[in-house]
């Protein structure tokens, strides 16, 4: 075999290429590690976002316009607009660690039972249903905060006929009352309403919810001035901030009780685990149907 000049050239090229190949392999490893780290971080973020899940229910929708303020402003439009603003506020602050789901994101029909079913499906920790009311009397800007109510006969009857769906909320009334109280405190502290009422009532769409569940109904006299106020983006942002304050105060209360800190590694508070056990021990109606 004759060692020619062209073989020498090939050998030189190979020798020169070795460091480049080593560098390339290193870069590739580094890139893979970075990707893995990024994915891990994203997964961690997802897990953190799932720490608390809030389902916001914009009342009414589709053919059901809800209350009408004047000739054109419908409750269904206001509820969706406020729900979106509340979602935007929460999503813009990752440190809040709250995943938000809306029961509807457009003007669509949504049956009453379906609203709680969506919250149950997402294993939500909180369910907040948003409504507006048009009151001739009393003509005050007011906020009504409702939690579900059951009569003793109703509980007995529902248990007897094994109507587990309507009984769901009966196991979470204490949490709902507490959630409602925090919303009430935030509304009172804001000074935005002349009257604030905290009420128990047999609200249909709260009964199937297997978590702390509250309905808020902001009530206004149907005056021209109020209609303009309700349509104002600034006013809706103000309302969203008030509700957010109530939600955050309630969740912080849980965090304090369980020594949970957002910066530490997350482990769900025992109370939340218990809530989920109660809920999913029975299965949601959707799951039962499937």
């Amino acid at each position: 075999m004759i060692f020619r000049k062209k073989h020498l050239n090939f050998l030189i090229i190979c020798i020169l290429a070795i460091p480049a190949l080593i560098e390339a392999a290193s870069l590739s490893r580094r890139s893979f590690s970075q990707d893995l780290a990024a994915a891990q971080a994203a997964q961690d973020t997802d897990q953190q976002q799932a720490s608390f899940c809030l389902v916001i229910d914009p009342g009414h929708g589709g053919k059901d316009s809800g209350v009408l303020f004047g000739a054109t402003l419908a409750e269904k439009t206001l509820t969706l607009s406020l729900a979106r603003k509340l979602q935007e506020l929460i999503d813009s602050d990752p440190e809040l660690n709250i995943k938000v789901v809306l029961t509807r994101v457009e003007d669509q029909d949504l049956p009453l039972d379906r609203r709680a079913a969506i919250a149950n499906h997402h294993r939500a920790d909180l369910f907040l249903s948003i409504h507006f009311g048009s009151y001739l009397y009393p003509a005050l800007d007011s906020m009504q905060i409702f939690i579900a109510d059951y009569s003793s006969e109703e509980l007995e009857y529902l248990s007897m006929i094994n109507e587990s769906w309507s009984l769901m909320q009966s196991k979470h009334l204490a949490e709902s009352r507490e959630f409602g109280r925090y919303i009430e405190q935030a509304v009172r502290a804001s000074g935005a309403f002349a009257a604030v009422n905290f009420l128990k009532a047999p609200i249909y769409f709260l009964k199937g919810a297997s978590m702390a569940a509250v309905e808020v109904e902001a009530g206004f006299a149907p005056s021209e001035e109020n209609i303009n106020k309700l349509e104002s983006e600034d006013y809706q942002w103000q309302l969203a901030k008030i509700l957010l304050q109530g939600i955050v105060s309630f969740l912080n209360k849980d965090q304090e009780q369980s020594q949970f800190s957002p910066s530490s590694e997350f482990s769900p508070p025992a109370e939340i685990d218990r809530v989920r056990e109660n809920l999913y021990g029975q299965g949601t109606r959707q799951e039962q149907e499937q």
């Binding site: 209350v67 006969e153 047999p202």
Partner: protein, 193 residues
Amino acid sequence: MKQFLIIMLALIIVGSGLWVWTELKNPRKLVSRNLLLSKILEENKQREEFFSVQLFFASKMGFSLGVETREVKGEKSSLQQQIRRALAELIKGPTQADLVSTIPVGTKLRGFYLDKNGIGYADFSNEMIKNHPGGSWGELITIYSVVNTVIKNFPQVRQVKLLINGLEVETLRGHLDLRRAFSFNESLLSQQP
């Protein structure tokens, strides 16, 4: 034979006529008849007597139900008739300036029934839904104005269930669960703290 029968028939007719005439002329029987007549009139008068009801309307001043007392003409003998009359007054609306009606315009009471367990069924026409302004507060105040009016005045009724056109409905306008019967609500009688 034929003549005999005609004579007998004529005698019976004349005899009966004489007996009736004698009876009517008897003063003792006349007093007794007058007493019976006055007794019937007295009973009718009692049936036309008024009874007092407390009607629960929405207060203009705050988030509560206010009471207006009204004298309602009614039959003492029928509880369900009295309840129907009381609810008819509730539908008419308040006369006091500080109260406001809770039943939508055009609503009619189709009936009121009471079962052996003390549950009353107030059956309203479709206007109760069609003309209702909606809202959780609005539905709450409408339902309890009916429930409190019935139970406060007629304690024989333990709970009240609302029907629309004779049927059970889920809600009035998408808020309060009407599948259940309602008890008297004390908390709505005064302003919330």
